[in-house]
Symmetry: C2
Subunit: 259 residues, 2 copies
Amino acid sequence: MTSANVDIFKTLDPEHAGTTSEGVVTQLREMIHRGELRPGDRLPPERDLAKLLGVSRPTLRAGIRSLAAVGVLQSRQGAGTFVVKSDGPPSLDSSPLRLMASLHGFTSAEMFEARLSLEMAVAGLAAERATGDQMATMAEEVAGMYASLDDPEQFLVHDVRFHQTVAASSGNRILTALMNMVATILFETRIKTVKRATDLKESAEMHRNIYRAIREHNPEAARDAMYDHLTRAKRAWDLEEPLHAENGSNGNGNSNGDH
Amino acid sequence: MTSANVDIFKTLDPEHAGTTSEGVVTQLREMIHRGELRPGDRLPPERDLAKLLGVSRPTLRAGIRSLAAVGVLQSRQGAGTFVVKSDGPPSLDSSPLRLMASLHGFTSAEMFEARLSLEMAVAGLAAERATGDQMATMAEEVAGMYASLDDPEQFLVHDVRFHQTVAASSGNRILTALMNMVATILFETRIKTVKRATDLKESAEMHRNIYRAIREHNPEAARDAMYDHLTRAKRAWDLEEPLHAENGSNGNGNSNGDH
DNA sequence: GGCCGTGAATGGTCATACCTTGTTTCGGGT
DNA sequence: ACCCGAAACAAGGTATGACCATTCACGGCC
């Protein structure tokens, strides 16, 4: 179903507490809960949907805007409004966390520690559950790192993909999403970091250690290897300054952190 | 500064890519990044702010709505729009995660595992860093549990507070926020669960084990104790059915999960 | 059969008016 | 002089209508 059936949209119940636009959000949210709206579905045009729900277009737009802000809906001018269809693993928008970091003055170190905990957790789970294909992919990425010791940009690609494969191997999409959310923020603050060849070699070896531990189905070793990797990587950067991103990216931050 | 100084708001730069309302979001977000807007600040009235930024009121409202949806701003009719001031620890809105769970069919078991990983992580950190006051608070809550074995509702209060104290003791507000986000969703799906006295007694003992491990500054033991606690608790519930919340709560879900 | 232009569909923005709800203030009563 | 209530004001919420900007599809043209 590319376009949602019109019949499933009912006029808003007035007893829904709160403001009218909140009622719109509630109604659309419940339709998603009930599976009446699925990823990739296209909503009716705003003018029609406003009529169907019995609200004005600005009110409907306010509701759509709220759901778009949390990454559930996506509007494209001239095309329509769609339920977000994630091609890869589900991902959460990282801007709320980034804003919260700014508001409360979180340090990079604190953010890094959160990532460390999450990466260790997924590494442990991956050691228990990784399939042959997934382990093969990890091995390929490690090989790619060794082959890119003189090309930091290419190295970074393999690095990111390795961590994503580990996360996917954990079999827990929620932890994966949370990890990516944190990693994205850290990534943005040091995107310009230049790596030296010696650092890259050590990094590749660390990744290889992680792969081996997962290959041996040894969760403890995998956690330890991930700890070593990230802790050493942290030391290579200057993580002393407070968090202060100044980028202007909007929408879903789907760029993912590396190590 | 209860009310933000008007001078800090500048007309929107037209070169900001994307739509106009996205420009509003970007501008306000950067002002938060730069610390020009702080928690508790009140924004100028919409009509004035729209003039200051050089956009129409509906467009401004769209931007405010986006930031309100992610829990950064809060509008109160008749009062004004404020930068969210969290009294307690910073918290992230759990609705994005809940919506994503609905969209991708996450199971309660998967959500539970994510919580388990997070709780084990914070328990380990708490064992390393908990202060005397924090440990004292934990002990009090454990005592409160034993004193409420015949009052499930009261027991629940101590239970929640114990877990929050552990999280706070970890010293990592990001992990704490993520944990609360996941715990909130699990909490909502089983709010009605009735506990038997025998379960409560076992639960209290499990919490006592966690406390002791933290008291001994033994991260491994703390993680293991938390694992035992949550794993046994999980067994006591029926976590077989898929996730299907049908509540209508909007805004920030700041109710926190227990076990 | 493929390419390009044109137009309908659709979201984005704007202006304006009015309603609902908090907040404040001012006046009368105690 | 203090307290309380009602009225005036302020501020966000909603509705209506119009117009602009972009996308996509259809159909004619080469």
